[in-house]
Symmetry: D2
């Protein structure tokens, strides 16, 4: 099973702690982890996966490995900017978003657009329409790293 | 000036009316309009642009012109699924989102991630973080087609 | 009908003359022309199309309109580097390659990989396998702008 | 070091034997191997890498893992058709092409267009211009799996 963990370069300390633990839990569960391969949440999840000898793939937006986390098992260089977010989402059997940025929101939206996989948010975005109604087909909200991984691993829905 | 108009295949009648008028207003202002090239909001904006003899380009997700609106001036076939949303956003000097879907939300998020261009929402998404705080760097909210076009044409900010 | 005209930034004077005439002929035939939107062959074909009031769309590799030919009717900004070559090829009902570069060869190869459309070479690449055999499913070789357009417009094969 | 091994689904028995051995040699040299992740040359190189417990990543063109080789360490699902060839090329410090197809030729051309990395052909394409001249900045021609790996590992040039 391949799980994507998304999150911003610029994140809170709590986001980093969460990402590291999510990475450890996914590696211990035998999952391959896909991420954006950069700093912040991306580097923290990579470090967590590596600490448990798991497999962690980074999908980079630019045209070189510059800025790639040193903890990645392999680096995919797309040279496609944020269109790489679609590649991350298509490569995943579940998506966990940690913290919030516009890039992370695009990954949540692309994952919901794709459909058929769990999309979990930990400490990040709530999605509302302009009329203030919560979206029906909601993103799953997790309160802890453990809960985010449990929701992700519950499988396709 | 090139303006992207985004919106879902499945939309309300009001969304279609809005999209048609936005298309007319943009064409009258001399803008080239970029859209996803399909049905719903996309077809309505294309019809509006064409009714004023404007230039309207559709950026399709699939591998053929199947499903493309007949009102398009030209059809770009990306064969890249929703990654084409990034192409729409990068090709625009301003983005107007009409109505709401996950695909449309991804376009809003990708446009805000890019930065430097007006992103206007007409009858669609409000973006909130999980803590209930409105996002500072907000999407511009328009109440009418005219207002959406005015906000878009006010230029790069 | 949409026809892609491919060719390098750095090209011969003869390539430019050929590209300009191909652009004129395609516009006169009522075709929309797709190209890479840059200098060299791309700028020459754009100028030719524009001289006959045709529609010419440029598909750019970088993240802005910098470097785009001023004769383009519309500029699609992909921010995807040479992966945009696949977009050019998928958007075309026929491909004419003028002159030779590695980028142009990739467009020929992607068009043949797609299949089902005429791929015409004017003054550019010959494709051979290592064993020296000419490839069976060959690129169509044209000796003049007129012949290249005739081969392209003969339609899908 | 990451090395891409490219080649067609439909290939000769000799191509498969070559690909398997190239995979083994690259894994033994400690390289991560990138490939298209499908059948034919792609499956053979994956099997070779796996037989030596190396890391092998498949970059798929379609929107699911359907058709992916079972020997892959991880599967990247691009949903971008042959535009994924650009991703393979950008992710590699060297490219080895085994056998010939239009898709493989596009990878060779995209790699030469990128420049700065060794591009090696084993039993596949020879590239000539229409005037019959061999291209100066030529693809490196290898006569054996060992030679192809040596040329690839000689590093960036």
């Amino acid at each position: 099973m391949q799980v994507a963990v998304c999150g911003p370069r610029n994140c809170s300390d709590q986001d980093k702690i969460n990402a590291y633990e999510v990475g450890q839990l996914l590696a211990q569960a035998g999952c391959t982890v896909i991420c954006g391969g950069g700093s912040g949440v991306m580097a923290a999840v990579a470090a967590g996966v590596r600490s448990k000898n798991g497999l962690i793939i980074g999908i980079r937006p630019n045209d070189s490995t510059t800025g790639a986390s040193p903890d990645l098992s392999a680096v995919i260089v797309t040279n496609m900017g944020e269109a790489r977010n679609a590649v991350i989402v298509w490569s995943a059997d579940a998506v966990i978003a940690i913290g919030g940025s516009w890039g992370t929101l695009s990954e949540i939206a692309l994952a919901k657009r794709r459909g058929g996989i769990p999309v979990v948010s930990l400490g990040g975005w709530a999605i509302l329409r302009q009329d203030g109604q919560q979206v029906d087909d909601a993103v799953l909200s997790a309160q802890s790293p453990q809960e985010s991984v449990e929701l992700a691993l519950r499988g396709r829905h």
